[in-house]
Amino acid sequence: MGGTLAENEHTAHQAELLASELFSEFFWSKLGPTNHDWPCEDKERHQVATHPCDVVYYYDEPYAARQTYVHCDLKSYAKGTITAAAVKAAVESLAKQVACAERSEEWRKLHTHDNVTFSVSGLLFVYNHDGEYEADFQKNLMHIAPESLQLPRGSKLFVLGPKEIFWLDNIRADIQQMRGKSNPEVPAPEFCFFFHPQLMRRANLQVKKAKAATLETLTSPIIILEHRDPRRSHQRGVIVFYSRPGDTVDEFMYLIDTMRKYELLDENTSVKVKTLGASPISSPTFQKAQLQYIEGLTGAGVDTDLGEYVKAIRYEPMRETRSVYSNIDLGTWS
């Protein structure tokens, strides 16, 4: 749990616990040891003897026949300690870790499978453990010059701030809630996968194998979970988690059109759109968008199959859930 800020052991453990619960729901797997140091490959430039490694996750890439290894730096900060300087230092340190991971024999031996084509990405996970951080976290990233990061060409670095983590944690909680109902809305994990569309210039090569939500998916405003319920003769269902406010008709018409382009609208698929903390008028706005979209297809009063599929989309704002950990409990039971 490397970091420049003072973190007590159990506070740091909170980020680790949350990340573990969160990413397992998105079908990421852990590989290798956690919380260890490994030798720096470029001591002169990096000015350190070792780099920290909190945890490394991996998943299969849908658009390429390779795996992505996510080298994570998990931070658990209180509201007052999330400062631009702290975030900059953490990002710069993570960039150095990723640069070294790309060429380190030791890192490769500990964290990758043999004979696998892979890429390494960095993830800075900034969890606000007191839940009081309300400022715009992304502003902390604006002053970081990309050229100051000593990342190799083509390497990617992702940052999840308190708001993004809250959103993803709510998706996790919502999926588990739907799965745990007496009449489950979502089947067991082996019948679920995150949807990656076939794109114009990029084919989804591993539809069955690449079940996990990629880093790009997790940081996009639309995250789609697809499931095939074995109890209902493998009927297809999709849940579209949408992070934007949902306060305009145009926004939802665009979302509906995106679903059409992704070929999610047909007679054998149940579609549900879910939002979190959306505008208070998001439900009527969505309904209006459905009607306007149907009218836009052929004009009012003409029934079409696609119109029926659009009409059948259900919209449901999510209930907010906040994961809270107690240092006393963690200290007692760990």
């Binding site: 490959e41 790309e102 060429r103 084509t117 892979f118 060409r153 083509g154 114009m200 210039r201």
Partner: protein, 223 residues
């Protein structure tokens, strides 16, 4: 515009072994040249060869007084070595890459032969067009050594707003010539150009953040 060039290199050692040897020749503040390794895999090695060049720039003012300025330049050659395919890819290479090639050769105990490749640009671009799945048109060609009469040769650039290959065939007829360069222009959604050179070089004037076009260029390069 990003420039790439491919050279034929059959590495006698694995990429990891090559990585270790290049790592033993690092670039730093106390050396004038050396390597920085960016990425090592079983099937590739990416790195940079950096040279620090120091020289004195002398300027004479209008009264004949000489002013001397110490200058420092860094020359970087990015490369990608692979055990299969052409073996060595250079990215935005400087005018002379001899120093890089010498050092790579030295690192592999002079057992690697790095040679220039000559390719048929027409075949390369045609294969690229089918692999890249992008709408493109050959809108420019450079023909060299077109034999007009015995002993008299012409160098011609043919440009057009549509495919120029048939005009080129009409112009050259049965005469001998060598096709030096060919330019592909992309139409929507990607806008830009690629120039294919017969020395296995390519200049990309197109946005390619995920290097998919570059990947198609590598895969379509004639063996």
């Amino acid at each position: 515009m990003k420039r790439y060039r491919w050279l034929q290199a059959d590495w006698p050692i694995s990429m990891r072994a090559l990585g270790k040897r290049l790592k033993a020749r690092p670039f730093g503040s106390d050396v004038s040249h050396g390597f920085v390794i960016d990425r090592v895999r079983d099937d590739l090695l990416e790195g940079r060869y950096i040279e620090r060049i120091e020289y004195t720039d002398t300027v004479t003012d209008p009264f004949g007084v000489e002013l001397a300025f110490e200058r420092v330049e860094f020359r970087q050659s990015s490369f990608r070595a692979t055990p299969s395919g052409p073996g060595l890819e250079l990215r935005d290479p400087p005018r002379s890459v001899q120093s890089l090639l010498n050092r790579l050769s030295e690192a592999s105990d002079f057992e690697v032969a790095i040679t220039a490749q000559a390719v048929d640009v027409l075949a390369w671009s045609a294969k690229f067009q089918s692999l890249a799945e992008l709408t493109s048109v050959v809108d420019s060609l450079q023909v060299n050594s077109l034999e007009l009469e015995p002993g008299i040769r012409a160098k011609i650039v043919i440009k057009g707003d549509r495919d120029v290959r048939s005009s080129c065939t009409t112009l050259t007829g049965p005469r001998k010539f060598s096709m030096e360069k060919i330019q592909l222009r992309f139409t929507k959604p990607s806008i830009g150009t690629i120039i294919f050179g017969n020395t296995a070089s390519a200049s990309l004037g197109v946005d390619d953040p995920e290097e998919r076009i570059l990947e198609a260029l590598r895969d379509s390069l004639p063996r």
